[in-house]
């Protein structure tokens, strides 16, 4: 991959501490609580469900924080709060504009790959014309390993390629924060590993502040600058691991394995 060299330098630069942080592109949560009405059949029986309780978290500019936890730990709620799709019931949350990337690629079947990626440019307060949007998305296609697939329709692409187009769409939204909801969960193991590498190189080219939700502890350790472990009912942070390892990380690296064990311990999974 031609991006390899550029990726390494940018990634090496990113592990230097202390980082100079532009506070305006950081995400800050202080004691954030979010509750939902329960799902009981009778209104009287509905106990409010606490999706997140007293969560405090800071994601520095261009940091990638991976959030792991079992289902029901409020991972998706955290992303939606960050994107402003929900409001906290208590606590304080500050985030620069964030764009949401759902688990499934949700490419629009009536648009080409290029037009799908360019969708963010065609909406908003100052929508671009179709030609303008295409012209702006086109260079990114080659750069992110999608050259030659511009005119393919969504159904003609493989799962990994679809996810790349979806991620490019997320990037082209031009927001400082990316909220990724299990972006590789639907892919087979091999494609997932390939996509993790690809994500690293893409972020090296286009640094963003990233909140990555995943149920895959290994993925969290391989990709994250930090890993936050959430426990369910109510969703709360039970551990935080700093991953000070150089990239790209190998999943068989003893240090990666050790961190993975620690995260699994925090989740209460017997190893």
């Amino acid at each position: 991959m031609p991006a390899e060299g550029a990726m390494k330098t940018a990634l090496e630069a990113s592990v230097q501490e202390p980082r100079i942080v532009n506070s305006s592109a950081a995400i800050e949560l202080e004691g954030v609580t979010r509750r939902f009405a329960g799902g009981g059949r009778r209104r009287a029986r509905r106990e409010p469900v606490t999706a997140l309780e007293g969560l405090s978290l800071r994601v520095a500019e261009h940091e990638l924080v991976a959030v792991v936890g079992p289902s029901g730990c409020g991972k998706s709620t955290l992303l939606e709060l960050t994107c402003g799709l929900q409001q906290p019931d208590a606590g304080r949350l500050r985030s620069p504009p964030a764009v949401y990337m759902p688990q499934r690629d949700l490419l629009l079947p009536w648009l080409s790959a290029l037009d799908n990626a360019a969708l963010p440019l065609r909406v908003g307060a100052h929508p671009a014309s179709r030609a303008q949007a295409r012209a702006r998305a086109l260079p990114a296609f080659a750069e992110f390993g999608l050259g030659g697939f511009e005119h393919a329709m969504a159904h003609e692409l493989s799962g990994g390629m679809r996810q790349r187009v979806a991620f490019l769409r997320t990037l082209l939204a031009g927001k400082p924060v990316l909220a990724l909801d299990e972006p590789f969960a639907a892919l087979d193991a091999l494609t997932r590993q390939e996509m993790q590498r690809w994500l690293e190189s893409a972020l090296a080219r286009e640094p963003r502040t990233v909140l990555l939700v995943t149920h895959d502890v290994e993925e969290a350790v391989v990709l994250g600058d930090r890993v936050i472990v959430l426990a369910p009912r109510p969703g709360r942070a039970v551990a935080e691991l700093s991953i000070d390892l150089s990239r790209p990380r190998r999943r068989t690296d003893p240090a990666v394995l050790a961190l993975r064990e620690r995260a699994l311990d925090a989740l209460g999974v017997p190893s």
């Binding site: 629009l108 909406v123 929508p127 909220a179």
Partner: protein, 249 residues
């Protein structure tokens, strides 16, 4: 192909029944008599087919405009949806046979009561399937559009409206089948031409071959409209076949 074979077999059976059976040919004409009627009365039949076809096309056009407008309005306003949906369902319970003559009294012998009746029967499938298509858009996709700062109108234009097109086509296909029946009922309630009017005249005169010929033309009209819609759908929505399976989950 298989449909053509089935028709041939049915025609053979019919011919045999008519020729060998005890039923008077005046009551049940043989297929070859119907074919001769189709040819001999071609100018009469053609004229009436053109009248009925025109009514059906215009009626469907009216139903499309009203149905789609209604679906969008109901999609955008839950209040309107709650208010209109029962009325929509209720409109389908109206016995067309009974109100058709009333509409003719009200609107006259011209095309207007026909359009009202055809639109009334076609409107429902179009509105319902379009509304389902609009409301069936993945909620995750709507969240994504919100974080892309898309306005309500932009989401409607870029995502929801295209996603509703396959539903609109499905509704229109159901509508063309009932539109033909609606046109015949409307013509029988009061008109001076059209295939429905022709049927009304031919049957009491025991001109059954001509009546069956009119029925054949009505069926052909329905099939032609359906085929036209299918072609139009393939042309405008080449992607729809691929996604129809996983869209309705």
């Amino acid at each position: 192909m298989r449909a053509a074979l089935l028709v041939l077999i049915a025609l053979g059976g019919w011919e045999a029944l008519a020729r060998l059976g005890s039923i008077d040919l005046l009551i049940l004409p043989a297929p070859d008599q119907v074919a001769s009627a189709l040819y001999d009365d071609r100018s009469l039949l053609w004229h009436n087919l053109a009248v009925t076809g025109g009514e059906v096309l215009l009626g469907i056009a009216v139903a499309l405009v009203l149905g789609v407008l209604c679906a969008f309005a109901m999609h955008l306003s839950p209040t309107l949806r709650g208010a209109l949906y029962p009325l929509l369902v209720g409109s389908q319970a109206i016995p067309i046979v009974v109100i058709a003559p009333l509409l003719v009294l009200l609107l006259g012998f011209d095309i207007r009561p026909k359009l009202v009746i055809i639109a009334l029967v076609c409107f429902f499938p179009i509105a319902v399937t379009t509304l389902d298509g609009l409301a069936g858009v993945d909620r995750e996709l709507l969240k994504l559009m919100r974080t892309l700062d898309a306005s309500r109108a932009q989401t409607l234009r870029r995502v929801e409206a295209p996603a509703a097109l396959p539903g609109l086509f499905s509704g229109a296909k159901v509508a063309v089948a009932v539109a033909v029946i609606g046109a015949v009922l409307a013509e029988q309630a009061g008109s001076s031409d059209g295939l429905g009017h022709l049927l009304l005249q031919a049957i009491p005169q025991l001109d059954t071959a001509r009546a069956y010929a009119a029925v054949v033309l009505l069926a052909a009209l329905g099939i032609a409209l359906f085929a036209g819609l299918t072609l139009a759908e393939r042309h405008t929505l080449p992607w729809a076949d691929r996604v129809r399976g996983d869209q309705r989950t």
